[in-house]
Amino acid sequence: MHSRVFAALLALAASTPAAADVRVVASVPALGSIAREVVGDAGRVDVLAPAEQDPHFADGKPSMILALNRADALLFAGLGLETGWLPTLVTASRNPRIQPGSPGSIEATAMVPLLETGGRADRSLGDVHPGGNPHVWLDPRRARTIALGLAERLAALDTERAAAYRANASRFAAELDRRIEAWEKAMAPYAGRSVVPFHKSLVYLTDWLGLKEVATIEPLPGISPSPSHLAGLILRLRDTSPPPLVVSEPWHNLGTAATVAKKAGARFVRLPGDVGSVPGKDGYVAHLDELLARLRAGWEGK
């Protein structure tokens, strides 16, 4: 009896993920959506941060430790984006495969050219990311690079399915190529237009589409705007022609953003949260479609 219980416990303790099922954990939904394209049927992808919440401030819950404990790879943005919640989870996961420096610890921002690098590491400039802006995924060209890079990393970790990862990533890259052409065509009439995001989370999108980020509602990253800052901002925006589009993700103070837009004579667009926050727009492509459609609708006054 005792030996049977012991054997059962042993089996339970040894129940690492089945060889047939690669497990990838992504810190944020956009990276999760890219990972799903690359992993395809070869395994499963779990996403930690909810799509409706600011990725800087996700709750690092014990259930996430469970997912990380079983992961073969962790795909995260890096550059300090998840520093408030992810590192303790990774330590608590007890999983050597995803510890910093391990082959399964995959930093998305290390794969792509970065913007806003070389800034001063100084909190008088707000909650800065001195290594560069970490919000890379809203540029589909960089998403493409991340997908191909992830495929190579997974191929090295799981040589049996290397061909599948590479084929999946190539298929996704080809789809993005087609989409990028269509998106760029649809957005071409708005090139050079001004946008005012709440936080500096759209720099890769504006860089891709040739939009002009004339200001942010936050005076500095992570610093809430004071009335005097907002008054100055509104006066500046009133002088901007044509009027800019004020945009914000749902986790910022939408009332503030809408008020600034109204008083500045500009339009306000509520952007979707991360991938999966809009029902029916679950994949990376559908999400970006939705985001760009909202921007166009804003400019068209719809």
Partner: protein, 416 residues
């Protein structure tokens, strides 16, 4: 002679002749000639120290390998309408007027691919102390993890956090203060933990540490003679996702060790056992930093002393509402119901006043304002019943605190 041979070596070196290292690499015949000359000179002039193969070129400066460094400064101004109830100097406001609660300096880094280290120094009005300093394994098999060093014992929820940064109040709940004192339950030793491979989160921890805690145990490290003189602490914690944004953590803990009611320590005779149960229920709002959380802990202590035994229980519960990035409000109730004695325990040593059975209750509320993520202003008001011991009378009073905190340096992650 030696100087002359060195000069000759230098004069004959390829660099002195204007040849770059690349040119040398590209021309193996020169290398052959160089080797031939070197052998010839060694024979003629003796085996002086050979010149370096290539000039020493300083490496370009790279990123320095430094641990993450952060510092949290916490200051308070306090006003008590009567003498504050019995407490030990540590991190709580102790007297009327402005005071330093704590400067916490943290150094954190991986040691190597297999280990990370976390070191926290606390500077208080009492001086400098090592609050925690431990190494944690990262790559043990079987979901195991080990810690060694000086750390907060894995007992309950409150005891494991740096409460000035992590809880919504300026002070400690009464049961934690009464049972573990201002320094909380911590010691030097080792801990092993395991994450069980179940569909839900269940973690078991067990630690053996020094029992220097001066409120329930009081056995200094220098007095340890056998393994049973150490404090044993064990904890089980489970977590459940009750709904999309609703999480429940429940835990049970036990701490057992010798106490210093007799001197010298009498083997196995006088021990203190503390049992605890805790829960944490957290509901996060959908699209903001707002959340609502309920935290409660129950603790029961049984301590034997020469001539008898004392028992005491305690409970606290707090409810906190974080409204947005800037505002937070919290209320807390603490209760130490009447403790009891069996026999005629002699509570004369230093531990005595802390083991004595008492009754006390307290309610309090706090409002916090975070101008940015890196600073906080907090106002708290308590009504405290005062301590009633052995049929005596308690003097109730009010406590008022204004606290300011700032954080500089590396951005630490918050435990859930």
């Amino acid at each position: 002679m030696l100087a002359a041979s060195l000069l000759l070596s230098l004069a004959l070196s390829p660099l002195a002749a204007g040849a770059s290292p690349d040119a040398r690499a590209a021309a193996p015949t020169n290398e052959d000639e160089r080797a031939r000359l070197e052998a010839e000179l060694t024979l003629e002039l003796g085996a002086a120290s050979p010149p370096p193969d290539a000039p020493v070129v300083p490496l370009p400066p790279g990123p320095k390998i430094l641990p993450d460094i952060s510092l949290v400064g916490t200051f308070a101004a306090a006003a008590f309408t009567r003498e504050p109830t019995l407490r030990l100097a540590a991190h709580e406001p102790l007297h009327d007027g402005p005071q330093l609660q704590e400067i916490e300096l943290a150094l954190q880094s991986n040691v190597d691919p297999f280990l990370r280290a976390d070191v926290y120094f606390a500077i208080t009005e009492e001086g400098l102390e090592v609050e925690e300093a431990y190494a944690t394994t990262l790559a043990l098999p079987w979901n195991l993890q080990a810690r060694a060093g000086h750390f907060y014992a894995p007992f309950g929820r409150f005891n494991q956090v740096h409460f000035l940064e992590m809880t919504p109040f300026v002070d400690m709940p009464l049961p934690n203060r009464r049972f573990f004192g201002g320094e909380q339950l911590r010691g030097t030793g080792a801990e092993a933990s395991v994450l069980l491979p179940l569909p839900f989160f269940l973690e078991l921890r067990a630690a053996a540490i020094t029992a220097g805690n001066e409120v329930s145990f009081g056995v200094e490290g220098s007095e340890i003679e056998r393994a049973t003189d150490l404090l044993g602490v064990a904890r089980a914690m489970a977590s459940f996702e009750l709904a999309d944004r609703l999480t429940l953590n429940v835990g049970a803990s036990v701490a057992s060790g010798p106490n210093a009611t007799s001197d010298p320590i009498d083997e196995g005779a006088h021990r203190t056992d503390v049992y605890g149960g805790d829960l944490y229920l957290r509901l996060r709002d959908r699209s903001s930093r707002a959340f609502t959380a309920l935290q409660s802990e129950f603790m029961y202590r049984r301590a034997s002393a020469p001539g008898g035994r004392v028992e005491q229980s305690g409970v606290y519960a707090w409810l906190v509402r974080r409204f947005d990035a800037h505002w937070e409000a919290a209320v807390r109730g603490d209760l130490l119901p009447d403790g009891s004695e069996a026999g005629r325990p002699e509570l004369e040593e230093e531990l005595g006043p802390f083991l004595e059975p008492i009754s006390q209750w307290r309610v309090g509320g706090a409002i916090s304002w975070y101008p940015t993520e890196f600073q906080r202003l907090r106002l708290q008001v308590n009504h405290d019943s005062g301590i009633r011991a052995r049929g005596g009378h308690a003097r109730s009073g009010q406590e008022f605190f204004l606290q300011y905190q700032f954080v500089i340096g590396a951005h630490g992650a918050h435990p859930f």
